[in-house]
């Protein structure tokens, strides 16, 4: 890791500023109690500033999904704490949108019905939400499928429904767990461009978990590398590439250099799966 990165990381991690939306402080999580418990996360600290896009990469089983579940308020940490806008996270919050690793659709709801689930739960204006849902359906190229049921969709289409469902209630924070892992390369790139556009327009704070280093670099302001079990924060890389980033930025030398350094860090930390 270069001096510059170390400095940037230190600056960020040692002085949580007032604009930090998420602040994670010496967080640990053990699955199952007693001696047989699995230590999934150990002593994790980092913070995310308002409007920042953070990517997390790390080997399989290092606790990425676990971290996301804690931030979503689904899992209480064993030690330490995670704060959202200064208050400790206890239970779920309505200003967070979560995209899970699998689509998690309800088979008895149509595509539109699934996208509208958060709006139904939170009792938002039906007409307005319907319009918004249709816009989102168009955004991910699912128009014509809005009245179909999940079993009639391909895996990639289902995942796209899962993604726009997280956007329907316009949450300030997006937690995304390998959302594009099941998509083909073409759709994945389109989705990356779209996500960047949505993020730039809306100013949302995004935590994005991925297995793809180039996807991580393309999207993020900072890339956090996690180490293998028990999950710890390894290196943090600040990505200084101009926005909006066109897709062919991936062919530039600067981009390649970031990807290479992150790969090296990943391999040093126990390798990619």
């Amino acid at each position: 890791m270069s001096e510059m990165n170390r400095a940037a990381q230190a600056a960020r991690m040692d002085s949580p500023s007032s604009t930090d939306v998420i602040a994670v402080d010496r967080l640990s999580l053990t699955y199952g109690g007693g001696a047989s418990g699995v230590l999934a996360l150990s002593d994790i600290s980092f913070s995310i500033a308002d409007g920042e896009f953070i990517s997390i990469v790390g080997p399989s089983g290092c606790g990425k999904s676990t971290l996301l579940k804690i931030l979503a308020g689904l899992l209480p940490p064993s030690e330490g704490q995670a704060k959202l806008n200064g208050t400790p996270i206890r239970g779920a919050r309505r200003d967070i949108g979560v995209v899970f690793q699998t689509p998690v659709l309800f088979p008895w709801r149509t595509v539109l019905g699934n996208v509208l689930l958060p709006a139904d739960v939170q009792g938002l204006d039906k007409e307005k939400m319907r319009k918004r849902a249709m816009d989102l359906v168009r955004l991910v190229g699912l128009e014509g499928f809005e009245n179909r049921y999940p079993r009639e969709l391909s895996g990639g289409m289902q995942q796209r429904v899962g993604i726009i469902r997280a956007l329907i209630h316009d949450p300030a924070i997006l937690l995304m767990d390998e959302p594009f892992g099941a998509l083909d390369a073409m759709t994945r790139e389109t989705m990356n461009v779209e996500l960047q556009r949505i993020w730039m327009e809306s100013g949302k704070t995004v935590l994005f978990i991925t297995h793809s280093t180039s996807e991580a670099v393309y999207l993020a302001d900072r890339v956090i590398v996690m180490t293998a079990r028990p999950g710890k924060i390894g290196d943090v890389f600040k990505v200084d590439l101009p926005r909006p980033r066109p897709l062919d930025i991936m062919n530039t030398e600067a981009f390649g250099a970031y990807v290479k350094r992150i790969r090296v860090a990943l391999n040093a930390d126990g390798g990619l799966d």
């Binding site: 579940k69 979503a72 308020g73 689904l74 239970g91 779920a92 919050r93 309505r94 967070i96 979560v98 899970f100 699998t102 998690v104 309800f106 088979p107 008895w108 689930l117 958060p118 139904d120 739960v121 939170q122 049921y149 079993r151």
Partner: protein
């Protein structure tokens, strides 16, 4: 399968079985009070219909079955829901549930006749008792079978317990509930008939009993035929409702869930 050709083969097979039966009875000369020939059974059926004895008994049994089914399944759904949602209630009710589930419910019929008399009430109670368990067990299993990911999704949206119940757990349990209803319907019919055997003034079960007394075996067979037709129709009604309400399940997966979740227990 299917197709006109196979359908014809099916009819042919049935006709062949009836023909063999008829011939065997004629050749061996088995007396009619042991095994009547099919022709005698149809003749008994024809007589019964002509003299108009069936309808009154038929409608009595039908009423008992449907009322028993309604009472039993409504209570089963309510108790199953409470047990599924509350570990505390489950803990205290568990011994009772286990004991009743292992018990052959029809063995209670004589007691129920003593307590509630020869009329409609005792039949409805017996039918309800027998129909109760398959639905209660399936309701509990179904409501608890919601995947953790789906529960997590609802929780991440800050959904209330009521919302999780109505938007996730209940629709998720429907395949199990319908499997339970299907069994409960047939069980209710069994419960009503058994109670009529034990003591009744009307009903198809009581009619079988009195024909047995008069050694009218052909008549009994004709009623067995009516009862299986009734069972088929009742089962068909539940299936129709299922296909309507479980529109998201393809026929195949529906069958699978039904078969894997048919935990009805004993009659």
């Amino acid at each position: 399968m299917g197709g006109a050709k196979n359908f014809m083969l099916r009819l042919l097979l049935i006709a062949a079985v009836l023909a063999v039966w008829e011939v065997l009875v004629k050749i061996t000369g088995v007396p009619e009070y042991i095994l009547p020939a099919p022709s005698r059974i149809f003749y008994a059926m024809y007589n019964g219909i002509k003299s108009n004895v069936y309808p009154q008994h038929f409608f009595v049994t039908l009423t008992e079955t449907l009322l028993g089914f309604l009472v039993g399944t409504i209570l089963a759904f309510m108790l199953g829901t409470v047990v599924a949602l509350s570990r505390r209630v489950e803990y205290f009710l568990y011994p009772f549930i286990v004991m009743f589930q292992a018990m052959p419910k029809v063995a209670l019929a004589p007691l129920i006749i003593v307590w509630f008399g020869l009329g409609l009430t005792s039949k409805v109670i017996n039918a309800a008792l027998v129909a109760f368990f398959p639905l209660m067990v399936n309701t509990i299993v179904g409501l608890r079978s919601a995947e953790e990911d789906r529960i997590n999704l609802m929780r991440s949206l800050a959904a209330s317990r009521t919302q999780i119940f109505f938007m996730l757990q209940l629709p998720n349990a429907l395949p199990y509930i319908f499997a339970g209803l299907e069994i409960a319907m047939i069980f209710a019919l069994i419960g009503a008939i058994v109670a009529e055997f034990v003591g009744a003034e009307r009903g198809l079960g009581m009619l079988i009993q009195s024909m047995n007394f008069n050694m009218d075996v052909a008549g009994q067979f004709s009623i067995l035929l009516i009862l299986s037709l009734l069972g088929l129709v009742l089962n068909g009604i539940v299936n129709l409702a299922r296909r309507h309400l479980l529109f998201w399940e393809t026929a195949n997966t529906g069958e699978e869930t039904a078969n894997t979740s048919k935990k009805g227990g004993s009659v």
